[in-house]
Structure formats: C-alpha cells, structure tokens
Subunit: 449 residues, 2 copies
Amino acid sequence: MKDRIRVGLIGFGTVGTGVVRILSKEKDLITRRLGVPLTIAQIADRDITRKRDIAVPPDILTTDPQRLIQNPDIDIILELMGGIEPARDFILNAIYNKKHVVTANKALLAAHGEEIFDAACKENVDVGFEASVGGGIPIIRAIKEGFSGENISAVFGIVNGTSNYILTQMSEKGREFLDVLKEAQTLGYAEADPTLDVSGGDSAHKLAILATLAYGTPVPIEEIYTEGIDHVTPLDITFAETLGYKIKLLAIAKHFDGKIEARVHPTMIPKEEMLAQVNGVFNAIYIIGESVGESLFYGRGAGSMPTGSAVVSDLIDIARNIQNGTNTRVPHLAYLPKTRTRLPICPITAIDSSYYLRFRVGDRPGVLSEISGVLGRHNISIASVIQEGRKGSSSGDGVLLVMMTHQAKEADIQAALSRINQSPFVFEPAVLIRVEEKNNNGLTRNIRT
Amino acid sequence: MKDRIRVGLIGFGTVGTGVVRILSKEKDLITRRLGVPLTIAQIADRDITRKRDIAVPPDILTTDPQRLIQNPDIDIILELMGGIEPARDFILNAIYNKKHVVTANKALLAAHGEEIFDAACKENVDVGFEASVGGGIPIIRAIKEGFSGENISAVFGIVNGTSNYILTQMSEKGREFLDVLKEAQTLGYAEADPTLDVSGGDSAHKLAILATLAYGTPVPIEEIYTEGIDHVTPLDITFAETLGYKIKLLAIAKHFDGKIEARVHPTMIPKEEMLAQVNGVFNAIYIIGESVGESLFYGRGAGSMPTGSAVVSDLIDIARNIQNGTNTRVPHLAYLPKTRTRLPICPITAIDSSYYLRFRVGDRPGVLSEISGVLGRHNISIASVIQEGRKGSSSGDGVLLVMMTHQAKEADIQAALSRINQSPFVFEPAVLIRVEEKNNNGLTRNIRT
C-alpha cells in the first residue's frame, strides 16, 4: 500500500486546470474515500510561464513530458494535451514504462484505441477514459460496469455541446447557422476552428468509443456515416416544429441481428421526448438494454470542472486498483480481449428510417403527383405533406413542399431523390433529415424492423 | 481464480425470476465480460412448488435459506425476499459465514444499514445494493464511483414508480387519487397494500440510502420528513398547471453549511424541467455536484428485468473482486468507515422553500386582506394570487384562493397557516405544497440561501 498516489499531468490547459483545482479543493473528501491523498507530482506543458487561474509550485512544472514518463515516483500519467501526435507516443511510452494512464482524448482513442489498449493489456496497466465522452456524465463506467449484464440494443444521444448550443440558439431565436456560430466563438462555446464540432466529427469519435464498449467490437471511425449541422436551416427547424419535432445532432449506434449501425447526423425527434429538452451545451445519452429498457444520462458535456470531475473519478478508480494490486480488474473495452468480435458495420444505405424531405419546386400542376409517383415507385410511403402556397414571392423561387415518410430503406430514398433532383420542376436539391420515432422500447427502432 | 462464481438466491419472486432469466439469457455475454460463468447454485423460497415463468432444475430448490448460507460452494448470497426479518438475520448470518451479499432491500438497509455494513466491514465481504434505489438506473455506482471526487450539494428525484404512475394518471386524466390507485392495483402497478408507496415511506428509504452515500453520514429514516401523495387532489394539479408547474413526489437531500436536509413530499416543479417530463413508472434522480454541476439519471425504477439487471451488475462486480482477491475495494458506504461523520439533519421547520397555498374562504370583503396580512406579519412575501370567482356554487362552499409565495421559512409558514386556519372566514384547512424553483445551479436551492 502506497502512502499517496502520484499523478503526472501532460497538458495544463482548460481540463488540466480543472483537475488541479478539484484535487486541491476536494483533497479531504478524496482522502476520506480513497484512504490516501491523490496528488499532482509533476506537470508538463509547452508553455509553463503563462499565468493560469490556479497556482502550482513552480518546481513541479516542466516542458519535457519525458521527465514525467521516466519518473519512477509517478503512478499515473494524465494526458490532457489532445490531438493525435505526440499524445499517442507519450501514452504508449507511459504504458511501456508501466504507468497507468488517464486521458480525455476521444480523437486519439477513436483512431488508435486498439493499439493503445493492446499495449495496456500486455503491460497490465489501466487506461481510464471516462472524460472522453459526455464530460461529467459517468457514461463509460455505466456501460462497462452498470450495464455489465445487459445486451445493449442501442446507444445514442447528444454528445457534442457546441453543436447542441448552436442548434438550440437557431431554434429559440430563428437565427442562421453562421450567425450563431460566430457568436458561439466569441463566447468561447466554439473553437476558433469549429470544424470537428459542427461537422459531426467529434460526435463520431465519441460514438466509436461508446459502440466499441457496448458491442465488444472495433468500430472504425471511417465506417461511421457522419453529417454535420452546417446545412441545417431555420426554415427546416420551423417546419420540424410545425410537425411536432426538434432537430438535434444525434450520434446513434444500434445492434441488430449480428450487425452494427453507427451514424451521426441531424435528426428529427418528437418534441415531447426527453432528448428534445436537452438544450445549450448539455449532453444526454440513451442506453437501451434488453433487460433494463431505456435509461438516459444527462449532464454537462464539456468544461473545465465537469470534465475534470470525470478525470478525477478515473484517477481514484485506478488508485484503488494500485492500492489493491488489481489492475485491469475490469476489461479496458468492457469485454475480455480474446472474446471481442468483429461485427460488420452497415453502410448508411442499408439502414431503415423515416425521413423528412423538403423540395423547392415549380408552382405548377402535376409536381406533387410526379414527386409522390417517384417515391411510390421506390417503395416509399408518405405519411404527411405540407405544401406551402406562394407568399407573394416571385414564382421563380418556386414553392416549398415538405413530406414526412413512413419507415423506408435509405438506399431507396437516395435513389428516389437522385431521380427527383434531376427533374426540371425541382429548383434545388431536396433536403433530407432522418427521423427517429418512439416505439415501445424507447426512441429508436432497430435495423430492419 | 475460481472457474465459476456461484450464487445462492433467497426469495424467488418477481426480481428473483428476473435475475435467473438474465443470467441464463446473457450467459455468453456475461462470460465474455467476467471471464468465468456466473451461476445460480441454489434457490430458497417458502414456496418451491408454485409454477414460475422460468424453469430451474428442481434439485437446486429448497425451503431452507440456511442450506445456502452454510453451503461452502456458494460465493454470494442474493437476498430478494424483502422485509426486515428474517432478511436481516439471513444477511448477517451470510456475512458471518464470509459470504458476499447482494440485496435490493431498501427498507432493511434504511433501518439496519449501519449494522449490516459494520459486520461486512469486519468480515471483509462485499454488500451490493445497486437494485435498492432506482431499479435499473446505476445510481449507487454513480455516487460511489462516478462522482467519487464530487462535493455533492444535492441529490433528489422521483424514486417511487407507483406514486409517479398515480400522479401521472391524475394529471393526464383529471382523475381522483383513490380512483387511479384502485386501477393501478388491478394493473399490478400498485401492491395490495400500497401504503409504503403512496405514503412516501418507500421514497424515504431510498433517500436515506442516497444521502448516506452522498454525504458520508448516517441518515436515520425517522429524521426524514415524509409526506405522501394521498392528499393530492386534481384541483391542485390543475392550479399547478395554470401556474406553470407539475406536481411530483420528490425525495430531496441537500447539504449546506455542515447540515443535511432530507425530505419526501409532493413538490411543484416548473413544467419545462426534465423531472416534470418523467411519467408513469419511470424514476429519475438528479445529482448536483460542485464541480460537475447538474446530472440526471433516468430509467425504469422497478420491474423484474430492470431491477434484475441492477442485481446482475452487482453480482459481476463482486465476482470481479472475488477473482482478484480485492473485496471491499470501494468502501461500502462510499466513505471509509473511520472517516464517516454524523452531520445534523434539519427538521422540516428549519428549511426554506417557496410555497403553493390554497384556501377555501368565505366570499366576502376583507378576506384576501386578512390572509395576506397574517402572511406578511410572518415575513412571507406573496409572488402571485389567483382568486376564483363563485361559479354558481352555493356561497356556503366558499371560493378558492391560491397564493404562490417567495422563498420563506417553513416555521413561519406553519405558524401563519395555523393562525389562518383558525379564522372564521376559512372553511377548511389550507393546502400547502412546497415548490422547488430553478436557479443557476439546477433545480434546487440550498438551505438558507
């Protein structure tokens, strides 16, 4: 038994300062729970002169991460620098030096998780990554331990706070995407380069992690269909509301009949659904289990202190393993490595969904009949139609035609739209938004139900 | 390392059959996660002839729980019989026989938890109780491990599915309490004796467990102020809706300034709040942490399979401890026994809240002035008033007067109402419902803010 557990922190930025603050503020509480203190022994950052809003002894600061990785007194390396390289290199080095690792780096885990966890397994060290998905929401622990006997049929939700903030503002204020994005950047809710957030890429990284844990299979990031929120318009948000829906950027993974479905895209969900009430920078994730039914986890998806809190819970968990000599007590990726399988990931064309379709068409007889005819010939059945009359605009703009379909095959929808978009009556490519409807077992349906 | 983990089940009822079904259905999945099979070795129940909807080998059934407790092959005793005695006796016996224990028995833990956990600590065995609160929601694990570095300021929510079902039906259909209760009994959502559910007693048991874990202090059940839903009327539900609120039975624990507040009562919450959307037999629990902010956990609060799922997650967790020789790796009650404190629990008169008050008064001049005068003299400030005109009813019934107060002291409210109820203008005792308002840090406010 050690008299204290020593952490080496690489990356003294937003989350890093949160962790340092929590370990200091909650020192007594953590000792009452863990039995020994948990301390930051050394901190590495490229910039060790910048003033942070938390004071640390200057002699624990260094610009050289290798000094932490090689330090025999350090038990756990905490990687909070982000990015792929050199974070990957530092983590692998730490593992080969028999250090346990905690990281919040979803991009790295989504791209190189298999390599990192293979190494950790070989060296019998722990790798905690609760902070990589859902900020302060203990969702990783829930899948790995809370639902350890659950056959999970779906895991889905809102996992990117920036996109959700932007969609919430667009919905509440009727504003355009670019307008809200600019404001979000000024307020610090969006990065200077917001691509990863608004393109859905960050959500896809998180979905890869969640689905890997839920299903015991690798989920390569490049096999996740990913669509961002940059093409969502106030017009479609308004139509969605008229039809009783909200538009949210959802990350969705389902398991059915030995196949996995994994996709990220703007999604219409019934407005009385709990997910539809998740606003601003909050995240919320549903787990649908065969025994447990639907469960939802909601909380702050980002920020210095919430994400710091998730990091601290991982540090305490690993510290308990160190004190008991029982590392890798729970398999890193929920399933024992030798029992993991390689399930096929469906392409987006293989999924079934309901759809919202919006057309801008010439205001003349026969157009509705032509469009619905094409859809019908592709086995797509229409649930409802809104045709908007001309509102004094010149007929050159055309009129808007909105259709909600019953459940259909994505491949059929794509084929039908490609045909419709070629028609001379159609003034611009059709807008498509997938719809998740509620059934008895929660919000999503399975593949091919 | 054992080649399998053997469970002895005492109590083969609703949850017991759920556990047996999950262990059989998810046998492969559990083995892929745990490494060895988890099996039911023996089952004790008073009635071993009744036909259940799951088949078990007849030779593992017994009417004598001692045969399980004394069986050297059994690793974990699973107590699902409920009630205080002989469940307490069986559990203590199992612990003294060095068996680990899993239980869903909230009434027992609320009343005799300290004794049971003392014994478990002495014998170095695990006691899992995830299924005791919130059915399939992994809330116990969240407090003990997910938020292990969190200074929790409040834990509150809907923890009794029967009451929530009844309130949901009353709200949606405008029906009376007794009418809905009778139907719930017919449908199997309420027990033949529903007292514990509708009186708030069951919620208080669960709150005692949650607050004990969150604050590292004993929370004696008799110090929890408890009020049920049996006096909630469709009239007050309608007024609440007019004012923008829903009425839910909440269990609320807060920590402020070294004191604990713990209470169960019907509560008005803003209808746009997520808790207000929790309907039917679902449960939802908020954790407010100083670092993490607000988090919400939502799911099925009862039922054979959801509760069975929580039991199975405990069995797997303890099995992992057995395989690694690391029992009591996490303190039973979240804090190490020697660091637990004894924080004072405030009486209900010491809390601050906002209030909904409804009076039935004589329809004559001066009544509003008299009532608001008494409130004013007790430092209670009124936020809004609804005075309902006579609707053709005879003036003998009086008219209804509804007031929403600003935050006030409960002691002042009680004193004022006791005074007002004596007035000859007042036709029946005033109705009081506490209100939880939203502030920056989530739904509840602290004591004496």
